[in-house]
Symmetry: C2
Subunit: 459 residues, 2 copies
């Protein structure tokens, strides 16, 4: 196998080299992400209005568009050590299998029990909840990665944890439930009869398999109706991208040490947490005019917020109880087909990434599920790691870009985010192996119907 003498297969930072502050890409954005609006008044939300829903410190982080570096508290850095640093891997085996001159790197976030990058923000959010003296937190989970991550974090900090899990995932991934229970969390399939909004959604759509949007509504209601609880969210929010910047910061530190500059940076995009975290420090350079990179967001063709959505104010949740965010959205009424990339089934997208995409700083593309699983299997067989369906969207495009290099002979350097493992997605792999997997692309008519649910907002 052809290897580069100066580049080891895997690079782990030492504890001393680990980032001591998160990077807030908003500080370097000329066009800041649009503010959250109060759905009642249509006015930008003030911190005080968010305190009943979110922890105070997290609200401050959410609204802070100016501070470039925010210190990571010592307690969080200590907890990060249980699963960080994550390795930056040079995909020598994949390069050889593809016969490409491209140099492929991936930042692998799956080496923890939640199986994904979600733990980066869960640790931070649990810490701030505990620091505020709360009893517990509520949340929703799609694929179960975020719920697992939050359960783990709450267990470390001694907090109660109530998880509303999208019904289709709850049924397809029963093992996730037991992992969460191992960490002491309670798990409810959503929509449920435990909340008013759950009852309403079930009455309107009796057979629904749920969506992240529904589950968010239930979790928010539960937080605001239980004393000493707040709601926490694993993606989409500015604070989450801030915490996830540790992925990009670690990756950049490792690449800088090796003297490597990526040409293309690729991440899968559901709500945007992984992609936003991975690209943040690189995007900062681009925004400041210090360096140029191609950024590619990869989303499922079944839920194409960037590539077919509208850049508009919309509700973050199906139940329309959350604030309005300006983002690329398919409409909060959009319920995607039950594809297996549970973490990519969200109708909207991070406001930060939406603004950056709108301003032309990044590209987006969508891929079909069966192509994604082909890439996943090809990757597993040479690199060893069995990837999550979500992560495999990035693998698909990384392989495609590497194959383009094979045609042109270009030695491009590709970095992609491998967000997690597929150990809890074996039903989906089984379908793929048995040739029972289908692709689903919403029609223009379906999207038009969904866009009709967009609220009218005067900006």
């Amino acid at each position: 196998m052809k290897t580069d003498k100066n580049i080891p297969y895997k690079i782990y930072l030492s504890e001393d080299e680990m980032p001591k502050a998160w990077y807030n890409v908003r500080a370097d954005m000329k066009n800041k992400p649009a503010p959250l609006l109060n759905p009642g008044t249509g006015k930008p939300l003030q911190a005080e209005e968010l305190y009943p829903i979110f922890c105070e410190e997290l609200v401050k982080q959410e609204l802070d568009n100016d501070t470039a570096f925010i210190e990571i508290p010592e307690e969080i850095r200590q907890c990060y050590k249980t699963f960080r640093p994550s390795p930056l891997v040079r995909a020598y085996f994949l390069e050889e299998a593809l016969g490409t001159p491209a140099k492929i790197y991936y930042k692998y976030e799956g080496n923890n029990t939640s199986g994904s990058h979600k733990l980066n923000s869960a640790m931070a959010q649990a810490y701030y909840a505990k620091k505020q003296g709360l009893k517990g937190v509520t949340t929703e989970t799609g694929a179960g990665q975020w719920g697992t991550a939050l359960s783990m974090a709450c267990s470390l900090f001694g907090l109660d944890c109530k998880v509303y899990m999208v019904k289709v995932s709850y049924e397809q991934k029963p093992f996730r439930r037991e992992v969460m229970r191992t960490y002491g969390a309670s798990v409810t399939p959503s929509p449920s009869m435990e909340t008013e909004i759950g009852k309403k959604i079930l009455a309107e759509h009796p057979g629904t398999t749920g969506s992240l949007g529904c589950a968010i509504s239930e979790a928010v209601e539960a937080a605001t109706t239980h004393e000493g609880y707040r709601y926490v969210l694993g993606s989409v929010l500015n604070q989450v991208l801030l915490h996830q910047s540790i992925i990009g910061l670690e990756a950049k530190t490792a690449l800088d040490k090796l003297g490597v500059k990526p040409d293309i940076i690729i991440g899968c995009a559901g709500g945007g947490s992984n992609l936003g975290g991975l690209i943040s420090p690189f995007m900062g350079q681009k925004l400041r005019g210090e360096a140029d990179y191609r950024f590619i967001a990869v989303e499922p063709a079944s839920c194409p917020s960037f590539t077919r959505g509208k850049f508009a104010y919309d509700f973050c949740d199906t139940g329309k109880v959350c604030p309005l965010a300006k983002m690329y959205t398919l409409g909060s009424g959009f319920i995607p087909a039950p594809n297996h990339a549970g973490g990519l089934r969200y109708h909207g997208m991070s406001s930060i990434l939406s603004q950056l995409y709108h301003d032309g700083y990044m590209e987006a593309t969508s891929v079909c599920q069966t192509d994604v699983f082909k890439a996943a299997e090809q990757f597993a067989r040479v690199e060893g790691i069995l990837p999550a369906p979500e992560s495999s969207h990035a693998i698909r495009v990384a392989i495609d870009e590497a194959l383009k290099c094979k045609e042109t002979g270009e030695e491009k350097t590709i970095l992609f985010g491998l967000t997690g493992t597929g150990y809890f997605d074996m039903f989906a792999y089984e379908k793929f192996h048995n040739g029972e997997m289908t692709d689903y692309i919403p029609t223009d008519e379906e999207l038009a119907a969904s866009f009709a649910t967009l609220p009218v907002v005067e900006e």
Copy 2:
């Protein structure tokens, strides 16, 4: 949290520091493990007799009692990089939760898709099979860890892989099957109708849930009846302990760097691969009189080879087609209760470890399943990692030893092997959470009946 300034939470060796040779503990044993016997003649097996079953290079390693260090071929070291080095972790969180003055370290082998240490030997065995020009290999798997590991290794080296999976695990762990299929392996529940021995066992025990012993018989038969195939085994054999010595070598290198000497070294024991691998270099020191350590083998009370077995020649498999090995055994007719630690359900034990135990160089203890899961959950909630039931046997005893230190005030240093993750064992965790888990301890009468199946061998 109280931490030691000079000891990081996690220690990864650099690529330069990785072992370049395996260590063969037999070279330092005064009493060598007894030779394998031909079941027909009762005479020690010669290499030529083993070649139809095993790869030639592996036979040489199996029979080599003298060479202390055997070089790890470059190709294997390259493949090791996909998942090694594994971290040595200082269990600061567990120490704090226990309030113990003990210093606890664990060598964590679960950060790979097989979820366990098994990949260390699978890579080696697949490499030697490929080097010999074989088409493929056959094997058995219990919990599925070994089968997954071998599938991964065969995929990397381009070999066909036929796996006979103990029926109870095949049914309890359907996802394991799909992981193996992802890597291109074929998986058959054992006993099966595909082999003569499978048919015979099914005729005699129609309702059997299988055992490692049965599955071994089927895999060996398949290897010897298919052109270009050999049989490979994930535990018990001397060659496997040799390959697994990389665990102990890495751990010792890391501890030496930190200036730390463990007082107690603990590992779970099924066939002995993890325990043997972990303790090898430390045991070498003890055998040479250079240092002293307490070694503790932990086995399930439901399958207590060391603590209640006999040190005698026995068949390695239920079908009695394999060579006779001298070991601590419950009798090859012993079929353990369907407890969930699938990897610890073997009736025998590594000949090397058996000899060392017999000669007083190590201790053994057995623990009940519900106590094991209590330890597993306690560990998960503070250290983050959700451990495999097998590994949790070692956790149980590590915690017990740390609590003894709390009573006595001794600051002992404990090292244990955390062999893998429990992601594919969530049915067992679910039973535990629901209070449906039971303990099973074989009666003296049951064991006596099983001992009656021991062959009569003149030594």
